[in-house]
């Protein structure tokens, strides 16, 4: 059956990405790099595994009802994984975990400093107008 071959190829693809994401989780130096490598590849891997199981079941189980259910699970994971990663990493930055000493770009601190500078400037202009 052609659907078994396509589904098994998708499951193999997702399994390789699962393994690479957990390997990045134990190889990277600090929490920001770990989140960067792990979340993206785990999301792509779960898309491959879950939709691959839905396509594989057409030939293996003989039922078309698996494909909508697996599609719902895959879309839910695709929507909620970036949200949870963003919330976690924002909490890590707010609780004051330092960056790795090799990291040289910190766009969020630059943004916060620019916001503070803009507020001070606007306060001064208001006082001058009054």
């Amino acid at each position: 059956m052609i659907s078994e071959i396509i589904g098994e190829f998708l499951v193999l693809f997702g399994t390789i990405f699962y393994f690479l994401s957990s390997l990045g989780l134990i190889r990277m130096p600090d929490v920001y790099n770990r989140m960067q490598t792990a979340t993206k590849s785990a999301t792509l891997g779960s898309l491959g595994v879950i939709i691959g199981v839905g396509i594989w079941a057409i030939g293996h189980v003989g039922s078309y009802a698996w494909l909508p259910k697996t599609f719902v699970i895959a879309v839910f994971l695709l929507l909620t994984n970036p949200i949870s990663a963003h919330a976690l990493i924002r909490a890590a930055y707010k609780s004051g975990i330092p960056l790795w000493e090799g990291s040289i770009v910190d766009k969020y601190r630059e943004y916060l400093e620019k916001e503070e500078g803009k507020e001070e400037v606007s306060d001064e202009t208001k006082e001058g107008e009054q």
Binding site: L12, T43, L88
Partner: protein, 84 residues
């Protein structure tokens, strides 16, 4: 082709590798990141078990597990940020 047992074994090895970061991680957020990845991998493992046993009810279990894991991670992130 290769067969479903090999995929189940590779996903179990990936879960054990992220379990290493849960026990080792220097800060709390490291452990929480590892738990987040472990729940994502476990959702895929449950979907593969549904194909292994040919029971469609395990897909519903995987969907409910994904919802509850997302809510748990959001609650812990709120707590670390100082919201709760």
């Amino acid at each position: 082709m290769i067969g479903i047992n090999i995929y189940l074994a590779v996903i179990a090895i990936a879960t054990l590798l992220s379990m290493y970061r849960v026990f080792r991680g220097p800060t709390t957020v490291d452990r929480l990141v590892a738990v987040d990845i472990m729940t994502t991998i476990t959702t895929g493992l449950m979907v593969l078990f549904a194909l292994y046993y040919k029971r469609a009810i395990f897909l519903d279990v995987a969907l409910v597990y994904a919802v509850l894991a997302f809510l748990g991670v959001i609650a812990f992130a709120r707590y670390l940020e100082g919201g709760i």
